[in-house]
């Protein structure tokens, strides 16, 4: 850990402090950022141990009489300073079956959907892919199950596809087997850190778990499935 000192002015966020340090004393200090408005999800870090976006964390919400610690996301391999290697997330996403719409509803190739039928999916699609939920998830962070568990971000992504009114694909088998949804024991840490306030656990993960249960553990369905296979 390296110590830097910089002056704090009104309204400043943590990312401003990092930029100020780059301009004053450490131009090679590495950090990722883009929009500086909480919309791109690039500047994720652990600020005084809490996973947050640097651009949305005001310094007047932190005790600056003591040193403020800024660390990279720890659930991923470190690269340099505030940067960690998050490429695993991009690999995981590719493994999830893509959107497959039903045939169009109208002759002009368009579909009809009611707003009330898409509210839930729109909530999931607010995700800015900051991966703070992945960072805080103990299955990934502490138990390093990256091979067996896709993490909250990609359960939300799967939920957005599964609950999309037009989608006809089925991803339930993979969720159970390859994607390890069973590892999640709904401690809701991911929901708490989501800067977009997506109710990850209640609205995405639990309903997906229920689908897995319905599909694989419902005795009646199991019987039907057995016959279908023949």
């Amino acid at each position: 850990m390296v110590d830097y000192r910089t002056e704090v002015s009104e309204g400043m966020v943590v990312l401003d402090a990092v930029h100020q340090i780059q301009a004053e004393s450490a131009p090679d200090l590495a950090c990722r950022w883009n929009c500086k408005a909480g919309k791109c999800g690039s500047c994720s870090a652990e600020i005084n141990g809490k996973p947050k976006l640097m651009c949305m964390t005001r310094l007047d919400t932190i005790d600056v009489t003591k040193p403020v610690t800024i660390e990279p996301m720890r659930a991923f391999p470190p690269i340099k300073d505030l940067i960690s290697d998050i490429s695993w997330n991009y690999e995981v996403k590719k493994r999830i079956k893509k959107f497959k719409p039903r045939p169009p509803d109208a002759a002009d190739g368009t579909w009809r959907m009611q707003q009330s039928d898409i509210d839930r999916v729109q909530e999931f699609r607010k995700c800015i892919e900051c991966y703070l939920c992945q960072d805080v998830c103990h299955v990934l962070r502490d138990h390093v199950k990256h091979e067996e568990f896709i993490g909250p971000r990609f359960l939300v992504y799967s939920a957005a596809l599964e609950m999309h009114p037009l989608d006809t694909e089925d991803r339930v088998d993979e969720l159970k087997d390859e994607f390890g949804i069973g590892y999640c024991n709904i401690t809701k840490c991911c929901t708490k850190v989501c800067p977009e306030h997506i109710t990850i656990t209640d609205n995405a993960i639990i309903p997906l778990k229920e689908r897995v249960v319905d599909e694989h553990y419902d005795p009646l369905k199991k019987l039907v499935k057995l016959f279908r296979r023949k």
């Binding site: 002015s9 009104e10 309204g11 400043m12 966020v13 401003d16 930029h19 780059q22 301009a23 450490a26 131009p27 090679d28 200090l29 590495a30 950090c31 990722r32 950022w33 883009n34 929009c35 500086k36 408005a37 909480g38 919309k39 791109c40 999800g41 690039s42 949305m56 005001r58 690269i79 340099k80 300073d81 940067i83 998050i86 490429s87 991009y90 996403k93 590719k94 893509k98 959107f99 719409p101 169009p104 190739g109 368009t110 579909w111 009809r112 959907m113 009611q114 707003q115 898409i118 999916v121 729109q122 699609r125 607010k126 800015i128 892919e129 596809l161 999309h164 989608d167």
Partner: protein
């Protein structure tokens, strides 16, 4: 000898925002191999910041809308120096491109009968913007990203292009570095598409991220391509002004589309005082009519807050300069007032403008459902860019294409809000299609090893110097020069002063140095970006001096009126023997059928 890794693609796309992604998808669907270079990580490009929506005359909300109205709105907004063929293609093809996004998984807000909902926006006669709350750009980029990753496109993340490589006149590849370890890369390509976005970082107050350093503009220019319309910069009327650290962050035009009004420190709704003649017939005569328009009354005209961005920005600037501004040098944007009209206004605002609500709550400690926001103009978009053929998006160099903000033509002197996202998908697709065709018809060119050696040497120079200036400091000074001298109101003397300032900054860049090593070193990256920023700043300034009139994004205090003589050409810049040369590019005569459309639409 410089070490580098070589990659080969049929089509190489530089930039992974909406235009780049759409181009990559199209090229890949045409059956050629495609490489996609992202300056940042995939999905983080500036497109995510687009809020309001994408303009497409689908007529879902008002069936009077069609491509002709959209075309004439775009030409009127651009003050008739647009490339009319681009404006025509854009208006005709945008609806199909939007519907295609839905087929790829985008989830737009809906009308009551289940169609894609469309909202009002500045300069658009009818509700035309397909949208998702106030996060439409995120929806666009995520849809293209999630579709594109299954298309077999090779994505190169956190790679920055240093220069285009040429074989004779033809562009045959690029020289680049990857951020993580600073290693050099050569990409050979049969066709290259530039989709690098804008130049906002040339200004102090901007809505653009660090990436907006005019890379594509400068790469094309230094390779010998022509840029046009560089004087036309869009200052978005409503950026945040307080606290200082968030100055410039965008406040969507959607706030005004939902009924938000602009007031000065005297509480006066000043936009009613200054309505340009050519918009009088389309503008509300009183606040009541304006409100009815925002609530979907088809018989009402739009409120003056929804006039084009260039005009609204200038009115705000005038109020502030006249001493009628808010405490921190802006004016008030009030959406909270709609509680007089709607019983559940607070919930309504949060539902329609969720990210604006959070942005102000978190960054400014201000609740927009109860309190007016302080806003002021922010550098948002450049209408100018690489000159392209309307149908194919080919630049003036063989093998080089451009799409999106870095290309020029569709917007003329001023872009309408919502026309940018639709521009990305309409012309991104066309660039991908025609670049793929070029790649099928032409083999790889040969790469000049000497060019690579000299580019690499130049790129590493900041490490060889010691005790030079910090590149971040030089960038700040450059932003001060452009903000102060080539901003929203321009004067010849000030702009000449800016040219002197830029020349001095150029010398300082050549003496700057960076510390540390080449592993993920933002100081070094900034030093390299500075060359691009200086190039586009000079192009903006010289073009602005050349256009001795006021039109759209260019306002000259010394020539405050429009001059019909300047409606006949675009100002073009090109590099000749290392110097910037200005010329006039005549605008071709509009065909009779398009003229008839404009007349018909009034």
């Amino acid at each position: 000898m410089i070490e580098y890794t070589t990659y080969e693609h049929d089509v190489l796309v530089i930039g992974a925002g909406g235009a780049g992604l759409r181009a990559a998808i199209e090229a890949s669907a045409a059956g050629v191999s495609v490489g996609l270079i992202c300056k940042s990580l995939l999905g983080k490009a500036h497109t995510v910041m687009a809020e309001g929506g994408m303009a497409a005359a689908m007529g879902n909300v008002d069936d009077r809308d069609n491509w002709k109205v959209h075309f004439s709105d775009t030409m009127r907004g651009g003050q008739y120096v647009n490339n009319w063929r681009m404006a025509e293609l854009h208006a005709k093809e945008a609806p199909e491109r939007v519907r295609e996004l839905e087929a790829w998984g985008a989830v737009f807000d809906r009308t009551k009968d289940g169609k894609i909902l469309q909202r009002n926006f500045g300069g658009h006669r009818y509700p035309r913007l397909a949208h998702v709350g106030d996060r439409t750009g995120l929806e666009l980029i995520r849809t293209l990203q999630d579709h594109g990753i299954h298309q077999g496109i090779d994505v190169h993340m956190e790679v920055t292009v240093i220069s285009l490589l040429k074989d004779g006149d033809r562009v045959v590849g690029v020289f680049a570095y990857e951020r993580e370890h600073g290693r050099f890369r050569v990409f050979k390509a049969k066709a290259v598409i530039l989709a690098t976005g804008g130049v906002g970082r040339a200004y102090k107050i901007t809505s653009n991220s660090w990436e907006g350093t005019g890379d594509g503009h400068a790469l094309a220019y230094h390779a010998g391509a022509e840029l046009i319309d560089m004087e036309f910069i869009q200052f978005h009327p409503t950026g945040m002004v307080w606290p200082p650290s968030v100055r410039g962050i965008l406040v969507t035009e959607g706030v005004r589309g939902e009924g938000g009004i602009l007031k000065n420190s005297e509480g006066k709704r000043f936009m009613f005082d200054d309505i340009p003649d050519n918009y009088k017939a389309q503008t509300a005569s009183d606040p009541e009519e304006g409100w009815r328009y925002t609530q979907g009354d088809k018989s009402a005209n739009r409120p003056p807050e929804l006039l084009t961005r260039d005009h609204v920005a200038r009115c705000i600037n005038r109020e502030v300069k006249a001493g009628r501004g808010s405490p921190h040098g802006g004016v008030y944007l009030d959406i909270a007032w709609i509680k007089e009209k709607l019983p559940n206004a607070s919930e309504h605002i949060k539902k329609k403008l969720p990210s604006m609500y959070h942005q102000f709550m978190q960054l400014a400690n201000l609740d927009i459902t109860t309190t007016p926001m302080e806003v002021g103009p922010t550098t948002h978009y450049i209408m100018g860019g690489i000159r392209v053929d309307a149908d194919t998006q080919a630049s003036t160099l063989p093998g080089l294409y451009a799409a999106g903000e870095c290309a020029s033509g569709i917007n003329g002197a001023n872009r309408l809000g919502g026309n940018s996202l639709s521009d990305l998908i309409v012309f991104g697709k066309r660039a991908g299609e025609y670049a793929a065709q070029f790649a099928k018809e032409n083999g790889h060119g040969s790469i000049d090893a000497a060019q690579i050696e000299s580019e690499a040497k130049r790129a590493l120079e900041p490490f060889d110097r010691e005790g030079g200036e910090n590149p971040f400091v030089i960038q700040n000074n450059l932003q001060d020069v452009m903000q102060k001298l080539v901003g929203i109101v321009r004067l010849e003397d000030e702009m000449k002063e800016a040219l002197d300032g830029l020349a001095k900054l150029n010398e300082r860049v050549s003496r700057s140095s960076v510390t540390g090593n080449i592993d993920f070193n933002p100081g070094w990256h900034t030093a390299l970006d500075l060359r691009n920023l200086l190039t586009v700043s000079e192009a903006i300034t010289r073009s602005a001096i050349e256009r001795k009139e006021s039109r759209g994004g260019q306002f000259r205090e010394d020539y405050p009126d429009k001059d019909p003589a300047f409606a006949k050409f675009n100002v073009a810049v090109r590099e000749v023997d290392g110097l910037m040369q200005i010329s006039h590019e005549p605008i071709p005569e509009m065909p009779a059928e398009l003229k008839a459309v404009i007349e018909e639409m009034g």
